[in-house]
Amino acid sequence: MIFSSLLFIFWFMPVFFILYYLVPMRAKNFVLLIGSMIFYGWGEPKYLLLLVISILVNYFSGLLIHHFRGRADKLILICALVFDIGMLFFFKYINFFIENINAFSGSSIAKVNITLPLGISFYTFQIMSYVIDLYRGKVDVESSIVNLGTYLCMFPQLIAGPIVVYSDVSAALKNRRITAGAIEEGIEIFVLGLGSKVLIANNAGELWKELENIGYDNISVPLAWLGMLAFTLQIYFDFNGYSMMAIGLGKMLGFEFPKNFNLPYISTSITEYWRRWHMTLSGWFRDYLYIPLGGNRKGRVRVIINLFIVWFVTGFWHGADWNFILWGLYFFVLIMVERAGFGRFLEKHRIFAHIYSLIAIGFGWLLFAITDLKQLGVYISRLFTGGISGSEIYYIRNYFFIIIVGCILSSGSGNKFYEKIRNKRAVVAVLLSCILILSTAFLADASYNPFLYFRF
């Protein structure tokens, strides 16, 4: 199930939340666990089993790490991590490796017939945070399997983040207060996220889809740039919208999830951009990969190697294809260049820094969006040599409104505006009602409502 669907908003939400609010605190986690399993199993019931196995393995690993503290805890941790990463590897990457081994060695190993289990990249990272932090002594062992299961498959962040580490919510899992104020705030954030996804991301995304239909060989220079801009807006409003919906739902349940985006497109460098984009993912890689590798404490060469590893893995985490690795390494190169002195230049030239960052980000999205490297080359060449076709005027007319709205909102003006009216309750009520009704209207006629994160 996805949040931006009629099924979720008008069936799952009323039934689930009525039950959830009616039962006493000690039963809430159980209701949440069952609700989350229905949410998850709706699309592909068979992978529910995988989720349950993951809960069981990590739950018992946790108990064992606690029991054999100081004796075999490291070994058990390693076993649990091998299991977690092994599952992710098998279900997400096995065919990529088979394909490439076949291509390089001329062998013909048969591909495995599997589809990617929804959200596996997210929940694997979440559960790893539990066993690692338990080993490190940062969190206490979770003796209730319902609580650990609830943490892992809580439906708001289960399939597309934010990546909530166990220590973020361990206290709330045991006891939490649900206030009317938090519910109100949660619903407001949920509807803003819904509008972000359905009204802005989907509409901007239609243009990107259109370019795919036309074929990259046939697009003109203005259209190629317009398409890049449209995808840049689509992925931000899609992903951020989804994160907002998750955070809002979390508040409605009594949880505080970490913020995932902080106006990434106002960045003045790529280094800054990655502090503002998908913050829970960068945070995870920092805490569970970069710092364990030695971070920046082991000398210059090691820093470069560590950063290379982190960016390689970041790219690869986004999808099992070469273009995602390329995308990660592209940011590695830019960040290295910025560290080498370009960053100081950017600090002195703010306007240039904005333009540079936006173009670098947009260009990065092309690497991300076009999985076929040959097609990627075609698209990039059209950015400079595509000429003019005459059809630009049609696309500008149909998309300028949504693109301007997207640009204004991603500059942060929308947030400022909302803060200003936040206390004028009637205005909030009218604005959000309109967003809800319009989003429903767009979902009612949803010829185009993609879910971008299925590869993650």
């Binding site: 908003i9 699309g43 009317a180 104020g181 519910i183 300028f400 809800l436």
Partner: protein, 380 residues
């Protein structure tokens, strides 16, 4: 209390709206016919264990939440109108042009097109009988003056010309271009504004061009616009309208037809004595009145005393575009065998063998030729 409401005003509104919709779902009966979409809407599925295990229950339940959404029609229209407020002139792949015209988008040809071309080449190659072939361009190609600025569609003329020249090496195929005659008359009402078909007037132009190419003498009466055989019906909204749904485009159409007597018309297991299903004129899908809609095989018997140079039989392979054109051919043939390959699983070869002296005509509109996947049946 008031302070509580003020502080949590949107939570209250939201809960109310969501619960109202949920209740609406619970009380909706479902399964009714949607006239704008021309199909039955989904019902709430029964829960069964096997349905849950194989996922079919979830799929049909999701479809049900989409199709039985309370106020769905109003909401769909709201979406269309809000698009217009954003100054868009396109919704669901239909673009708004001038003079109240709607046009379908086609930014690239489909992968199916190549297969369909091959199917027709194979068909032409395996017989030595003469075949007339006509691919009719769709409205945007002819009414290019009315399409929106920069409309990015493929050139149907180029595609059709291309295919025709591919066929020039087949001596038994005569390709008939109706582009020029339609283009010359593009100021006239030759395509519907809100539907994907050509009008009866447009079809008549095509008919005359076909007669010329096939060596027939066309029935002349429609040239006299005041013909007392002509009937018209107003207030026709077609398929483009049901996708577009906005306020600013798609003025209602007028459907017209000629009262053409026949001896008998066999279609869909029934025999009629006329070619038009007049009951359809009271429904949304008025165009379905022509030839009683689409059937796999239909046969028209006609006889007109004194008609000049009439031939005996014509086999027409066609899509719905031809439905308003076929009646004219009753003036040129005693017997018309009309085949719609989508609904005709039987052997075409046997049909041709049974009717050895019949002329053969293939007539399709470009959009259908581009994406229909039943052309392989020509060589069955």
């Amino acid at each position: 209390m008031l302070e509580f409401v003020r502080k949590n005003i949107f939570a209250i509104i939201f809960s109310f709206m969501v619960l109202a919709m949920f209740t609406g779902y619970l009380f909706a009966k479902g399964g009714e016919f949607s006239s704008t979409e021309n199909r039955y809407l989904a019902r709430r599925p029964e829960i069964t264990l096997s349905g849950i295990l194989d996922g079919s229950f979830m799929k049909s339940f999701e479809l049900y939440t989409e199709e039985q959404l309370p106020l769905r029609d109003t909401l769909v229209r709201l979406k269309a109108i809000s698009g217009e407020l954003m100054l868009k002139n396109e919704n669901n792949g239909i673009a708004r042009g001038d003079r109240g015209y709607l046009f379908e988008k086609l930014v690239s040809t489909s992968g199916q097109l190549g297969k369909n071309k091959a199917a027709i080449r194979n068909f032409a190659g395996q017989t030595d009988r003469d075949i007339s072939l006509c691919i009719v361009p769709n409205s945007y190609e002819i009414l290019s003056r009315d399409t929106p600025a920069g409309f990015p569609n493929v050139s149907q003329k180029a595609e059709i010309d291309d295919f025709y020249s591919e066929l020039s090496s087949y001596g038994n195929v005569s390709t008939v271009s109706v582009y020029e005659t339609l283009k010359e008359n593009s100021e006239k009402y030759i395509y519907y504004r809100t539907d994907h078909h050509w009008t009866t007037q447009g079809a008549y132009l095509g008919y005359c061009r076909l007669c010329e190419a096939m060596g027939l003498t066309p029935w002349k009466e429609p040239e006299n616009l005041e013909s007392d055989r002509l009937r018209t019906v107003d207030g026709f909204y077609g398929t483009y309208h049901s996708k577009y749904r906005g306020m600013l485009g798609g003025f209602p159409d007028t459907l017209s037809y000629y009262d053409i007597p026949v001896i008998s018309y066999e279609t869909g297991g029934n025999t009629y004595h006329d070619l038009y299903d007049l009951d359809k004129l009271d429904t949304y899908d008025k165009y379905a009145m022509f030839m009683y809609g689409n059937e796999g095989m239909s046969i028209v018997e006609s006889e007109r005393g004194g008609a000049a140079k009439k031939r005996s039989e014509l086999i027409i392979f066609k899509d719905s575009y031809a439905n308003c054109l076929i009646p004219f051919f009753t003036y040129n043939y005693d017997r018309l065998i009309v085949i719609d390959l989508r609904y005709y699983p039987e052997s075409v070869n046997e049909l041709l063998d049974k009717n050895k002296d019949a002329d053969i005509l293939l007539i399709y509109n470009f959009m259908h030729f581009n994406d229909d996947n039943h052309f392989y049946r020509l060589t069955s």
